[in-house]
Subunit: 190 residues, 2 copies
Amino acid sequence: MLNNLTDHIKKFIDLSDTDIELINLAVAVKSVKKKAFLLQPDQSCKEIYFVSQGCLRLYFINKKLNEQITQFAIENWWLSDYYSLESGKPSNYYIQAVENSEIISINKNKLEELFKKVPRLERYFRIVQQRAFTAAQKRIEYIYSFSDEERYRNFSKRFPEFMQRIPQYMLASYLGFTPQFMSKIRAKKD
Amino acid sequence: MLNNLTDHIKKFIDLSDTDIELINLAVAVKSVKKKAFLLQPDQSCKEIYFVSQGCLRLYFINKKLNEQITQFAIENWWLSDYYSLESGKPSNYYIQAVENSEIISINKNKLEELFKKVPRLERYFRIVQQRAFTAAQKRIEYIYSFSDEERYRNFSKRFPEFMQRIPQYMLASYLGFTPQFMSKIRAKKD
DNA sequence: TGATTTTCTTAATCTTGATTCATTTTTTGA
DNA sequence: TCAAAAAATGAATCAAGATTAAGAAAATCA
């Protein structure tokens, strides 16, 4: 549903019918099956992804050869490897669908053209980026404030619905500890 | 020097002389003595800060009553508590000068007015926020990729000049470990 | 629906970095 | 310039969470 994107944008800026048409011409809608990849290491990232429906994860393989998830994206979130996108360098990351998902993508160059045609979109993305940055900061604050066990309990209190949607080992990875440790703390009390 | 700010902006977007005037009218320049505070907990954060000269740090007091630094800002970096800024809620953070510094501040409301007069600034801040987010992501990647010792060695290789500017205990705090542990790994080899 | 793959659990041992407490070195400011 | 405060070091003990190695339970799919 293309509307999911423009509806989201309308929460932050006004859009004329022409604006909406221009946006819809610039984007592409993809149905992505669970476990399918939108980005793999050594590809350079050319697009940003808006989750219209479903869930994506961003992860890399660390030195111990485990998957390390650094972000999830659910409905109304953007996801990309901005480092690769900006630098043009090959990514270290995978972007993979955690569920069957509907994704709206915009190519980097098309987005630049779109900014020229609809300059107010700069404002929308400024706000979106600021929020993403704020969330990343909060995450760093949490990492340094709480023990792994506390972060797990905290997360399960704050996002009980989301926990239903993903396997536990993915949450363990996102929180930065092993599935074994997660079992241990879950066994204590839940 | 007001020029430091407009010069930085000009790296990303074109500015007319009028734009520059409007920007300079909206901002305030402050000389900030080492250890002076720009923000303290329970105040709500009303401004964003651009470091024209010097160094700022953003930190909070964690549950163990230690200072936890989450960001530094040196020349040409912006710093703020965006969470407090956006929500209007009282901050949990201190923003403090690490060195005698020259800081250019913009009040939140003045910035909104300025965006109306110079809409291209939305683009500048979009790019700045995207880079800040990318840096925060990289930081999270590092936290989960490397041991504390590896992160220390990594940091000292990548930013030798910056390490000269700040006390070691601040770097230990930023990297998330104790000064004692830092002494230990420095003693091994340097 | 049964076989295979994926996910979760348990337990023993090991490691990294915290804690505590004391001392030394460096910086600052009156 | 010297006293006080701030910063860095050292060593002993401790704890959170990793690792390793099974095995059990759930989900998937042909």
